[in-house]
Amino acid sequence: MTWTAILVSAAGCYLLKLIGLSVPQRLLEHPVAARVAGVLPVALLAALAAVQTFTDGTRLVVDARLAGVAAAVVTLLLRAPFLVVVAAAAATAALVRLAA
């Protein structure tokens, strides 16, 4: 039963990915689709960042991650490179947890 669930889920998720990649180009060249495609990354990245900062499963939580992300914002404002931003976030969250 577990194997069935694994294989069914895997097949379903793979098909969804493949269908997405196989959407006809004509459809995506439509001006409305092009406009949506331009805005989509902003909404997605913002949503992913927010969800990963404030949630645990289906619960809203505020924990050390917020301090880490705040450190990321500071380093971003200082125009630090990507790796520094990510490392600052991880180090800050780890230190806050250690202190708590």
């Binding site: 039963m1 577990t2 069935t4 669930a5 694994i6 889920s9 895997a10 379903g12 998720c13 793979y14 969804l16 990915k17 493949l18 269908i19 997405g20 990649l21 196989s22 060249e29 409305v32 406009r35 949506v36 495609a37 331009g38 805005v39 989509l40 990354p41 902003v42 909404a43 997605l44 990245l45 913002a46 949503a47 992913l48 960042a49 927010a50 969800v51 990963q52 900062t53 404030f54 499963g57 289906t58 619960r59 809203l60 050390a64 991650r65 880490g68 992300v69 990321a72 914002v73 971003l76 990507f82 790796l83 931003v85 990510v86 600052a88 976030a89 991880a90 800050t92 969250a93 780890a94």
Partner: protein
Amino acid sequence: MTEPASWPDLRVRILRTSLSVGVATGAYGLSFGALATAADLTVAQTCALSVLLFSGGSQFALVGVLGGGDSALSGSASAVLLGTRNMLYGARLAPLLRQSGIRRLVGAQLVIDESTAVALASESHGERAGRLGFWATGLAVFVLWNLATLVGAIAGQAIGDPRDLGLDAAVPAAFLALLAPRLRGRPVWLTALLGAAVAVAMVPVVPAGVPVLVAAMVAVVAGLTRRVEAP
């Protein structure tokens, strides 16, 4: 990633980004491996999920349902529901990747949050950069996620929690760093704030993974109702 750069410089920068996203995300494979075996999956079943399903949210959801004793079918249903956002990512990536045949079949498996995020962030430096971001991130996460799953499944509860290293903060920070260069002008800021607010507001109401999908709808509405400059 704002100032213009030569291709070798750009390539190094994208590869570095891909690898750090891969490390931060891959580390969660440890948690997944430990959690799955704790939910009575065998090591083979746990690893099969990471190779075949390869979508963190869906994997955690399936294992959560199986471990909770609910029916396997409802577990599959929530896993696939969570996977619908990858379909959206695929459609957005298709004109960038322009894959066919075997490359599309392989590339499809790598369509996940992280590879999409890096591809779309790199795309502003040209299609070549966007494609490199997709493949490098997708492969880095795939390899590290699967290795970590195996280690987590075998070592189980013996290994530490990635949260002790703050890696759970590294992931949103990476998404934020990818977003930052795009935040120019009021319409873009509005879209970002609205997307984030809507997603967070949906979290307690809908299954995990769906909030991001709802946030994407914000982008669709924004694209339909106003002329927002593609950043």
